[in-house]
């Protein structure tokens, strides 16, 4: 008995270590962002908001933030639309080549970003579409649509397939059934998908860096600062990126989970 207790305590400590390893960089980044030292170490320097002041005063950061906002919102809309179409097609229809059809949307995340970045850069340059903000949007929509598809497909799984037929049976055309039944039913997952795809797009740097040309997004700015030298501005920017992403993820969870619970009661 005693042996099991020792073992259990050790397991708890071990789990704590793993979580400490995973969260250490996030926490330290937050701490460093309020630390006066340029080369942070222990003992810590004084509390300072110097780095925040610096980034607020930097017009490049503001432009990057605006760019990121445009890119992530547009990406979210396009990817969620694509994800919805595919999820609905998969839910409603059986057709030949459905396997390859689904592979088409689900495969992109398994391909290393650096490869996607190179391929996108080459292809978009060829088409004359590179170096623009919407180059990033095109690329990100491909990368994030599978997440939207997965979330919306899960929601459709919970739907009684008779619901759509019931709408037709009551005199609704296919389009009316889509508008008055399928979309309202999927709404929570659509909002979740919008938040999640926006969050993924907001953090992506490799593809953005390759295809964006001079239109930098926030992660690209971080990448370039990091390349230069140690500059704790990165931590301050990181805090904002973290807050934005977390807000989106938590919103996504709230919409997704709350509906999940509701439909079970």
């Amino acid at each position: 008995m005693n042996q099991t207790r020792v073992l259990n305590i050790m397991l708890v400590l071990y789990v704590a270590c793993i979580f400490a390893f995973i969260f250490a960089p996030i926490l330290f980044s937050l701490v460093f962002s309020f630390n006066s030292q340029r080369f942070p170490t222990i003992p810590l320097g004084e509390f300072s908001t110097e780095w925040y002041a610096k980034i607020f005063a930097d017009p490049d950061v503001w432009i990057a933030a605006r760019n990121s906002l445009i890119v992530s919102v547009s990406t979210a809309v396009v990817a969620t639309f694509l994800g919805f179409c595919t999820a609905y097609s998969d839910f409603r229809y059986n057709f030949r080549f459905k396997g390859p059809y689904l592979a088409l949307i689900l495969l992109p995340p398994t391909i290393p970003l650096i490869i996607m970045a190179l391929a996108m850069l080459a292809w978009l340059s060829k088409l004359g579409l590179s170096g623009q903000l919407w180059s990033i949007i095109l690329a990100h929509s491909v990368l994030t649509a599978p997440f939207a598809m997965a979330i919306i497909r899960l929601r459709l799984n919970q739907m009684d397939p008779d619901l759509e037929s019931a709408a037709w049976n009551l005199g609704g055309s296919e389009w009316q059934a889509m508008r008055h039944v399928i979309i309202p039913f999927c709404m929570p997952s659509i909002v979740s998908a919008l938040c999640l795809t926006a969050a993924v797009s907001f953090d992506e740097f490799a593809v953005s860096w390759f295809v964006s040309g001079l239109n930098k997004t926030v992660p690209v700015v971080i990448l370039e600062i990091v390349q230069g030298n140690i500059d704790p501005q990165v931590n301050a920017i990181g805090t904002f990126v973290f807050l934005t992403s977390m807000t989106l993820v938590i919103l996504a969870q709230v919409f997704f989970i709350s509906r999940q619970v509701k439909s079970h009661s």
Binding site: D160, D162, L170, Q176
Partner: protein, 361 residues
Amino acid sequence: MSEPLVTFRNVKKHFDDFVAVRDMDLDIYPGEFLAIMGSSGCGKTTTLRMLAGLETPTAGQIHIGGELMNNVKPHERDTPLVWQSLALFPFLSARENVEFGLKMRGVAPAERTRRALEWLNRMEIGEFAERNITTLSGGQKQRVALARSLVMEPKMLLLDEPLSALDANLVIRMQAVLTRLQKELGITFVYVTHSQSEAFAMADRVVIMSQGEIAQVGSPKDIYRAPANRFVAEFVGRNNILTGTQVSQDGNGIVVETPSGTFIASAPETARSDGSEVTFVVSADLVSLSVEEPQDRNRVLCTLISEEFVGSMVTLFLESSDGHEFKVQMQERDLIELDLHSGSQIWLSWAVENAHVLDGE
């Protein structure tokens, strides 16, 4: 009867290699309560779905009100369906669910609200009009589903096992609600079910289906007393089915020699010749029991195997000397007088006119 409202002519429905419905011919008349009954996979739901336009017949024609309906889309029909799953819209209130069809048809908001509330009140659930559908009980949801279909004022209402999710006492109440509604509205109900008690309790006519084909159409009484074939006789249950060889024919009926004995069965003058195989059925509630050997010519001595009680009715399972199983149904109080126990020997007998010969067997 009047002109049929619905006609099925040589209707077939295939799903890839699976034949769901084959060569169906059926007329449905205005104002009747028709039940389509059969075990799962017999094609009854496919038949209903073809009426609603949710499936297209592979061959044959379906007419409704004289119009060919084969390629008419579901939403262009006037055939509201009450679903087995109810298929109520979970994100709408009870009233909004009932209004749905009117909204699709472009009825003005005020008018559709008025009509929806009228139907909810008629179904005695007016007080739940603004409640979210997920918060209602099974019986209440059932009534919303009915109201949602009936508010469309159809000539025909389709029902797909609507009571299968309810518990037993609620089923009886809803049966009463349905029969009353059907009589009041005077519209056609087409009711698909696997439950014999539901079909027999409510329907004017019953269609029994088996493997995509109609096994028999008739009033509940016809089907119960005069099953058309062995399938129906077995499906309806509580029938004693005996097969033997015809040895002679006289004014009373035909004499059939079976392993359990020789019996006389009533049959119209037929072309059946002596020596041919004959199957007849005797309904379990028309068999009498006696301790003394009875005078009837149709009698057999059996051993009691077991008994099964449902309410005040009891079904006895007995076995003749050749091992054939007999079923006898009777009131429980009549059983007490006989003082039987497992292994008791007892005589079974029945009148000639209650032995019904199956056609074409």
